[in-house]
């Protein structure tokens, strides 16, 4: 049985999903260009159910790629039951989507979520009245605390089993008449999609391009035949039809809201006061810088605190192993590679990665990211984008792959291309570990902070140049700013663990395997060949030790590898004894910008196609070389190192 969670963004679908499916269950992305909706199999009340967490949608009218994917899932997949998650604090607006879901001819159950926040805002909703108005079961829930979920799924299973399909709400008489006439003009059964004909007719009225074209293909001349119906409706109302429809749903939804809810006096609290500070024209910017500064220093401090004793321990281990075998023996070299791979993960990467992911999870869960989009909107306009692009770009500090997928929230293809191209340059957590582990640890935190600022500067310059070359204009910012929320410890931990698992399961084994491979290469002296081939570039252009050649090659697999293998290739964790400050800086700058890891290249190819991927990848090499060479010259001239 398939159960679909559908609802507006930020209504708590994923919270409900995680409550039943558990963060521990393997979540899978659909292949192809579909949005990252998550599916999971789980047992609910003794039944095996496949739960699908659709991306948030404001309506079944598509305005961005994520909505498009959600709509095509609902149209094609015929789920056994739709659980519509409704934000109780935004009942009227949420019901506009509910009204559209009722048109799909599938059983629907409404989860009236965030009841606690609604009460705080002085909104009292009677679920009974709401259920009677909508003709579907309504279950009040507080998903964050797991309240009401058991009843919700019981109702959902019952609705699925009894196949109780709700009756759609009737709209204004003239619209209904137009719908009837279009239904008659639709091609005979089986229709284009497994949905009620009334739903298709409404989509035609909304001038949904995808559905209208699909019908036109089956029944040529359809568009011409319905044109008079749409024109007549337009004539009668004086507005265009999609707005007439939307306006009517709005009216129906709000009259249901009025009947089902009572407003009391809202209790204003810390959220409103903090929000004033976060968004105020005078304090918003400085507070943002302060928040990011605290973030940076906490990650650096916590990482360094843990890293140093761990590195010392593994160094001793490594020395002991090499001492136990004759120098140059195969087993000794391979074992040493193994230890370095394991220790690189535990001692060098994890200490910075863990606090970093935790911090990012906090930014995501409190609702601060959309506020950053608001504050940075006009800055983003300067590089030809708008504030919403801030969201994928900030996510890029975590991992570039989900960040590139997150560009789907952008409305125009141009913005998605440009944002993806720029997001690749944002240092992901793997690259941050290099900034922390090399520059901050050996040269000091100010240098590391400088790299972040330099990086932002390079992105601004690239954005300005690229946006001039790309046709079209950014449509402008339209973004809901959700209420601030205190992150719950449980969610934080689960989210961080989910991201960390990716490192432990995929990156770390790769790290260990690569270290062993490098060990074997060293044993066979093959690393010298690779280094020699690369040395015109690494030694002459970048001024680095020849031994870094191999690390740059491995860095394409995972960026962390460059750092861990640098230690191995140079034969010591005391890097300051074998590399100058200028060399460390040049190395970090190059690694920061050059070819994103293979996973990113694959994500880019999936989202944008191979042509864009090729020029973006080429661009990264050019930018990396230019920045590294300029950095090297500037630092040398300044007399550092």
């Amino acid at each position: 049985m398939r159960l679909v969670l559908a609802g507006q963004p930020n209504s708590g679908k994923s919270t409900i999903f995680n409550a039943v499916a558990g963060y521990r269950s393997a979540t899978a992305n659909f292949p192809g260009s579909s949005v990252a909706y998550t599916i999971s199999r789980t047992m609910i009340l003794g039944r095996e159910v496949q739960i699908v967490d659709l991306p948030g949608i404001y309506s079944l009218t598509t305005t961005d790629a994520a909505e498009n994917q959600a709509l095509s899932y609902l149209l094609d997949e015929e789920p056994e039951v739709i659980v519509n998650v409704v934000d109780a604090t935004r009942l009227g607006r949420s019901l506009e989507l509910t009204l559209q879901l009722l048109e799909l001819g599938r059983p629907v159950v409404v989860a009236l979520n965030m009841m606690d926040e609604a009460l705080r805002k002085g909104i009292e909703i009677d679920p009974e009245i709401l259920a009677a108005e909508l003709g579907v079961p309504v279950v009040p829930t507080v998903a964050r605390r797991g309240q009401g979920l058991k009843r919700l799924f019981r109702e959902a299973l019952r609705a699925a089993m009894t196949e109780s399909v709700p009756a759609p709400k009737r709209l204004d008489r003239e619209i209904e008449r137009a719908v009837e006439r279009i239904v008659e003009l639709l091609p005979p059964e089986p229709a284009v999609y497994p949905v009620p004909r009334r739903f298709l007719a409404l989509k035609v009225l909304e001038r949904d391009p995808g559905i209208t074209h699909a019908i036109e293909r089956v029944s040529p001349g359809f568009v011409e035949r319905v044109r008079p119906i749409l024109e007549a409706l337009e004539e009668a109302h004086g507005w265009n039809v999609p707005e007439v429809l939307s306006g009517h749903r709005h009216a129906v939804a709000h009259s249901i809201e009025d009947r089902a809810s009572t407003m009391h006096h809202a209790r204003l609290g810390w959220r409103e006061r903090v929000d004033r500070l976060l968004l105020h024209p005078l304090t918003g910017g400085p507070v943002m810088l302060a928040i990011l500064g605290v973030f940076f220093y906490t990650v650096f401090g916590a990482g360094k605190f843990v890293e140093e004793p761990l590195v010392a321990f593994f160094d001793q281990l490594s020395v002991a192993i090499l001492g136990a075998f004759p120098p140059g023996s195969f087993i000794g070299t391979v074992l040493n590679g193994l230890v370095l791979g394991v220790s690189g993960g535990i001692a060098i990467v994890l200490p910075y990665l863990l606090p970093f992911l935790l911090g990012l999870a906090i930014l995501e869960d409190t609702g601060y990211l959309p506020r950053m989009a608001y504050i940075l909107d006009n800055l983003m306009h300067r590089i030809g984008l708008h504030g919403k692009s801030v969201l994928p770009m900030v996510l890029g500090y975590g991992c570039t792959v989900p960040a590139i997928m997150a560009t789907r929230i952008l409305e125009s293809a141009r913005d998605r291309r440009l944002t993806s191209a720029l997001t690749v340059f944002v240092p992901c957590s793997a690259r941050s570990t290099i900034i922390y582990g090399l520059v901050a640890a050996y040269m000091g935190p100010w240098w590391a902070l400088g790299i972040y600022f330099l990086n932002i500067g390079v992105i601004v310059v690239l954005g300005t140049l690229l946006s001039r070359r790309m046709e079209g204009r950014s449509p402008g910012l339209i973004l809901e700013i959700p209420d601030l929320r205190l992150p719950s410890m449980k969610t934080m931990a689960a989210k961080t663990w989910l991201n960390l698992k990716e490192f432990i399961v995929i990156a770390w084994p790769l790290l260990i395997a690569s270290s062993v491979v490098l060990g074997i290469l060293e044993w066979a002296h093959a690393d010298h060949t690779i280094n020699a081939v690369l040395s015109p570039f690494t030694v002459f252009v970048l001024g680095l030790p020849a031994a870094v050649g191999v690390t740059l090659v491995f860095g394409v697999l995972r960026k962390e590898l460059s750092l861990v293998m640098l230690v191995q290739a140079m034969g010591t964790t005391a890097l300051a004894t074998v590399m100058t400050a200028v060399q460390m800086m040049t190395f970090t700058l190059f690694v920061l910008f050059y070819v994103p890891c293979v996973a990113t290249v694959a994500a880019l190819a999936r989202e944008l196609g191979w042509r864009d991927t090729a020029w973006i990848t080429g661009l990264t090499v050019v930018v990396a070389t230019v920045v590294a060479v300029v950095g090297r010259l500037a630092l040398t001239l300044a007399g550092i190192g």
Binding site: R207, W239, N378, G387, E411, P475
Partner: protein, 83 residues
């Protein structure tokens, strides 16, 4: 006047949404329709976006978008008794 010119904390009623289908539909789905009352909550400096409140939810609109929303002051709130 447009939403861009509306005063801080002023209540206004949406008169018309100009601009393409995409923008209109997007604003509609966020709860902004012709005839709705909107309150301007905050304005970002340096011609940044406007933050508006509608039916209890907050939406940030870039200046370009705000310019496409034509509004009139809300008569029921300006102190004049309603007819």
């Amino acid at each position: 006047m447009t939403l861009e010119d509306a005063g801080l904390r002023e209540r206004v009623v949406v008169e018309e949404i100009t601009g393409g289908r995409g923008v209109r539909m997007h604003l509609n789905t966020l709860g902004i329709h012709v005839g709705d009352t909107i309150r301007v909550v905050e304005r970002a400096p340096f011609r940044g976006p406007v933050l508006v409140e509608i039916n209890g939810s907050r939406v940030a609109l870039g200046r370009g978008i705000a310019r496409k929303v034509r509004v009139v002051p809300d008569a029921s709130c300006s102190g004049r008794p309603a007819e």
